[in-house]
Amino acid sequence: MIRRFNRTDYHKVPTLNTASLPDIIFILLFFFMIVTNMHEIKLKIDFKVPYATELKRLEKKSLITHIYVGKPTEELQKKMGTESRIQLNDRFVDISEIQDYITQERANLTEEERSLMIISLDIDRDTQMGIVTDIKQALRKAGALNIYYSAESLE
């Protein structure tokens, strides 16, 4: 018994070769860079998208413009009230500005991309339809006809 315990004293643990560790981490890094998407803009509104079951995944992220609708966040509610607001990029906009903005966005795209442009409507589930209808009319006038009603899957 004693001999067996003593043996461990001169038994060295072999060192682990970590030369390939950076490569593994880099692969993980690239994986995350490709799969995830950055939140470039700061949301000034709170929204919970509605539930649905027949969902399709959003593709071609570069051609997507987001329009957010919902109540302002709690800090902003003191200033702006709790009325539903529209956010485009970094700021609140009025319905009348949407058409110009979308027309501008379309002008920046190439001829082929223009018909593929998608507007993603990220709208809070408690919004009233009036504002949504107005946005849809503005989009039709701007000629951006592909839309996505952003929704969450119901499980």
Binding site: L29, R57, L145, Y149
Partner: protein
């Protein structure tokens, strides 16, 4: 002689792992993984003429009117219905299996794989809502309608190829889409009474 003995100094690369780790953690924190999902829809182009005149050109039997009022109650044609009845109603309307007089008329149409078949390609589901309708209720209805179409398409695909619609080849899917074209019209906004 001298040259041969000189060794290239090695670069210590033990810290590259740390650097890569830092980058990795940065990306995990700043990005979000949640894939975005939604209901895809194509809006009709904007027309200057009075849209009501367009609706009138459609035969009455070809149009299924769905109204959602400001209290999120659903009206299909002239009756109040529940959300759970909508899918069945929509399916019956789209397919018109019994070739009924008050459901959409059928046309003979040449579709690849199916040959000459009778389809209801003139039907329109017209969706109208009040300005005070809740967005969730609106999406529920949209969702039910899409579900009705996808159920019909799946049934057809099962019957023909014993597969689901999503598993078919591109041209087979196209044929099925021609058989059951999705025609949901988002009508011009109107003000309806809530009571």
């Amino acid at each position: 002689m001298y040259k041969g003995r000189r060794k290239i100094p090695e670069i210590n690369s033990s810290s590259t792992a740390d650097i890569a780790f830092l980058l990795l953690i940065f990306f995990i924190i700043t990005t979000s993984m949640d894939p975005e999902h939604g209901l895809f829809r194509r809006l009709p182009p904007f027309l200057n003429e009075n849209p009501q005149s367009l609706d009138l050109k459609m035969k009455e039997r070809n149009v299924l009117n769905i109204y959602i009022n400001s209290e999120d109650r659903l009206m299909c044609g002239e009756y109040y219905i529940g959300m759970n009845q909508l899918r069945q109603r929509a399916k019956e309307f789209i397919a018109n299996p019994g070739n009924k007089k008050d459901l959409p008329e059928k046309h003979a149409k040449d579709i690849p794989f199916f040959g000459n078949v009778m389809v209801t390609d003139n039907h329109v589901i017209s969706l109208q809502n009040d300005r005070e309708t809740n967005y969730q209720a609106y999406i529920d209805v949209q969702n039910e309608l899409v579900a009705a179409y996808s159920e019909l398409r799946n049934e057809l695909a099962q019957e023909k190829w014993q597969k689901n619609y999503s598993e078919l080849e591109e041209d087979q899917q196209k044929a099925i889409r021609e058989y059951y074209p999705m025609r949901i019209s988002e009508a011009e906004p109107k003000k309806y009474g809530g009571n």
